[in-house]
Symmetry: C2
Subunit: 322 residues, 2 copies
């Protein structure tokens, strides 16, 4: 039986993905820019099973039959369609990033699943095709396929919406884990509510497209200060956008705000550090590698910290069995 | 020598004023809706002095010669122009609301100054004219002239931009004083930055105009729940708007967010309570008079609390001298 194991890492967006143009195939309203991390990997094994009549998902050691399992089956249906196969699969995934707490566990999850499933079903896909495939599982997974800094081009259709690498200066991130629990409103539901109820959504789309252009330019020019300023402004605009929904959604907790305050104060002392946050209370600080210790010192006492550098592409692990 | 003393109270907006259409005469981009409070009065005496060659401002017992004094003189110039007078004045003002901490001290200040100065300079102005005059000193002061609930019509020009009373159900407010210090960025500067740098500003203007219509309708219908929901959504949208500036401005502190969280939790238990905040960290909770104790209990330990009910119009105090 065909089997394959892949590893992928989460990514943190510097220019955010928020809002879909086509939710059936996860076409985003705007492009985005991210750094794939070298921590919190997800490892996923896909084993085809010619005797099975349904897929099986084992997540962190426990078999799931609820929403996540259905989402995996819908994703495998896309892979089967591409491969011309009807075989069901057993998916075993081990996720080391806290789930659903705004740290993009679905990004590493679907990136690893895309790479493992493509291999197990015998598809020969290049990086762009893997990125497109991962996107179908979870939009931001398109970026976790790519090493280091990635630009996800919004695209016009399935073929043109994928991530690719972009040159960037040497940077690090400090992840401040504020809460590890599941968030009250999922990103999926919050994105839907944003598009339906926020008066700010159209302006978010147009301004983020501009911010992305500027951020890519800053990346290529190695202009860390400009990239950092764009990152923090864009993150606060995304949270502003989400907060403008009706009913409002607020992902930043009192501790998150405290961290934004501390990073602003640290910046006032001359340290290059900018805060961002995905759809949850955790805050991630973008900084120079040599300033990591200044950032961790500034965040002293603020829960659990993790330091990340640009991570590798999602990739297959060598076969260890047989 | 002519002298007059007036008293006025701050007001808290349920639908916010944020952004000017014409800053020379404080024409707002949108109308707004507020409740004038019965606490934190400002008392101001204006005494004309035919021997003086400049105005004098005594603020809480101390003579000021800086920005506030210049602002008072610019305001008195408008009054002198209306009255055809060249006389300088001594202005003594006692303000019981913490200044510049987002509790609209300039609203009660310029409302009291408008009423006292109009009387001292012999102007006979009706409520709408007093509201227009107070607006010239500080936009939100136009509403503190009016008792209870007030709608400030945006208007097209100086003549049409004034506040007037609106019927409303029985409501109370609990003011949670988070910080009393001066804020880092003044409302004036923050409004300017919003108009220049926030991509969300045009949508704020159009959506707030819609929210105002809905809020006035809810007020007149006595629909407290609808009014409360509009109030909290509008407040969070204003803070979202401000946060979307470049560089960002964040007025809500960790404690402010904690209060919004507690009020949301209280609401989940069936208590009608909604949070709002002006341009600062203090949070004000709109509730039914019979729910004030439930709100103060929910805010136990959160700094200093004050309870307010709909307050009176700005008015002259009877002469006690001579």
């Amino acid at each position: 039986m065909s089997t394959a194991t892949a590893i992928a890492h989460p990514n943190i967006a510097l220019v955010k993905y928020w809002g879909k143009r086509d939710s059936a195939i996860n076409l985003p309203a705007t492009g985005s820019l991210s750094m794939t991390l070298d921590i919190f990997p997800t490892t996923t094994t896909v084993s085809l099973d010619d005797s099975a009549d349904h897929d099986v998902l084992v997540f962190n050691g426990a078999e799931r039959t609820d929403g996540p399992a259905e989402r995996v089956t819908r994703f495998l249906d896309i892979v089967r369609d591409l491969a011309g196969s009807a075989l069901r699969a057993r998916v075993e995934t081990v996720n080391t990033v806290p789930s659903a707490a705004g740290l993009a566990s679905s990004a590493s999850g679907f990136a690893a699943l895309a790479v493992a499933a493509a291999s197990a079903y015998g598809l020969d896909l290049d990086a762009a095709a893997l990125s497109r495939l991962a996107r179908r599982g979870s939009g931001s997974a398109s970026r976790s396929v790519i090493p280091g800094f990635a630009v996800w081009h919004a695209g016009d259709d399935d073929a043109s919406s994928f991530a690719e690498p972009v040159d960037a200066p040497d940077l690090a991130m400090v992840v401040a884990m504020v809460e590890k629990g599941e968030k009250a409103v999922s990103s999926r539901e919050a994105m839907r509510r944003t598009v339906l109820t926020s008066p700010f959504y159209p302006a978010w789309v147009s301004s983020t497209a501009e911010s992305l252009e500027a951020a890519i330019e800053a990346c290529r020019a190695g202009d860390i200060e400009r990239l950092g300023r764009i990152t923090e402004v864009n993150a606060l605009r995304m949270h502003a956008l989400i907060q403008s929904c009706d009913p409002p959604i607020r992902y930043l907790s009192p501790v998150s705000i405290e961290i934004f305050d501390r990073i602003a104060a640290l910046r006032d002392t001359g340290v290059d550090a900018w805060a961002t946050a995905d759809a949850g209370p955790n805050v991630v600080v973008l900084t120079r590698p040599e300033s990591v210790s200044a950032v961790t010192a500034a965040l002293d006492g603020v829960n659990e910290l993790a330091v990340a550098h640009p991570g590798p592409a999602a990739s297959l692990l060598p076969r260890t069995d047989g």
